[in-house]
């Protein structure tokens, strides 16, 4: 698990909210920092990498636990 500066709790939020929220939050951390994002929407597994690819950010790791998905997003720019 990468070091992260904070955790964003998007549990229970369905599409499109997790992606909308991460786009609003990513600017609040420093370039190079990582946030831990907690989601329950399985669509986020595909959507976060797609969002990262389009916006130039990076998904550095994804972990699936029963009923919970943890996505580590690094601010690249």
């Amino acid at each position: 698990m990468p070091d992260f500066v904070k955790t964003l709790d998007f549990k229970g939020l369905p599409c499109p909210m997790p992606v909308v929220r991460i786009s609003q939050e990513i600017g609040k951390i420093a370039v190079g920092d990582v946030v831990e994002v907690l989601v329950t929407d399985p669509g986020a597994l595909a959507d976060f990498p797609a969002w990262a690819k389009t916006t130039g950010q990076a998904v550095v790791e994804t972990k699936q636990e029963p009923g919970l998905i943890k996505i580590y997003v690094k601010r690249q720019k």
Partner: protein, 178 residues
């Protein structure tokens, strides 16, 4: 051969290619609840992806932009009739299928609440915050007898025609019709 000149010419050509901008242009033609939801989800998603998003509301779609709290006078009889028959705002629109005299639509709205799916009210609010542009077809408004004074307050609302849509669509990487 002047390479620099050629590169400049190519660059200019590239910059003005259709679809060169990181932008979504969408026609919101339908006034159905399901399609309006899809339109708003795609628009807010696009804005989250760093794209500009421009929605062109036309025909039945425009009724969703009416503000139920506003009353305007001075309409002729046909406009009044249209005004009464068409839904007054986004919370009065129906599903395109399974409306079932209101039962289906009410069921979907309560299911959305239960499953925490963003309502149209929330989506319009987020769209406004993310800078999603709403352009309204002036001709449709006129045809249905809607006046600007009865439309919702929305931060990025414009009235225009087909040329504005086409100019936006031409330079957009993504174009959709709903």
């Amino acid at each position: 051969m002047d390479v620099e000149k050629e590169i400049a010419a190519l660059k200019e050509r590239f910059d003005t290619l259709p679809g060169a901008e990181n932008k979504l242009s969408m026609i919101v033609f339908s006034g159905d609840l399901d399609k309006q939801l899809a339109a708003m989800i795609i628009a807010t998603g696009a804005a989250a992806m760093g794209m500009k998003a421009v929605l062109f509301y036309t025909f039945w779609g425009t009724a969703a932009l009416r503000d139920p709290g506003k009353k305007v006078g001075g309409k002729d009889i046909l406009s009044k009739m249209f005004g009464l028959m068409l839904p007054k705002g986004r919370n009065k629109i129906k599903l395109s299928q399974m409306h079932m005299a209101g039962m289906g639509t009410a069921m979907i709205r309560s299911l959305m609440k239960k499953k925490n799916v963003a309502s149209l009210d929330q989506l319009y609010d987020i769209a406004g915050q993310l800078g999603v542009q709403i352009n309204v077809c002036e001709m449709s408004m006129d045809l249905m007898g809607f006046k600007r004074e009865e439309m919702i307050p929305y931060p990025n609302l414009n009235y225009c025609g087909v040329a504005t849509f086409l100019a936006d669509a031409r330079e957009s990487a993504v174009q959709l019709f709903l």
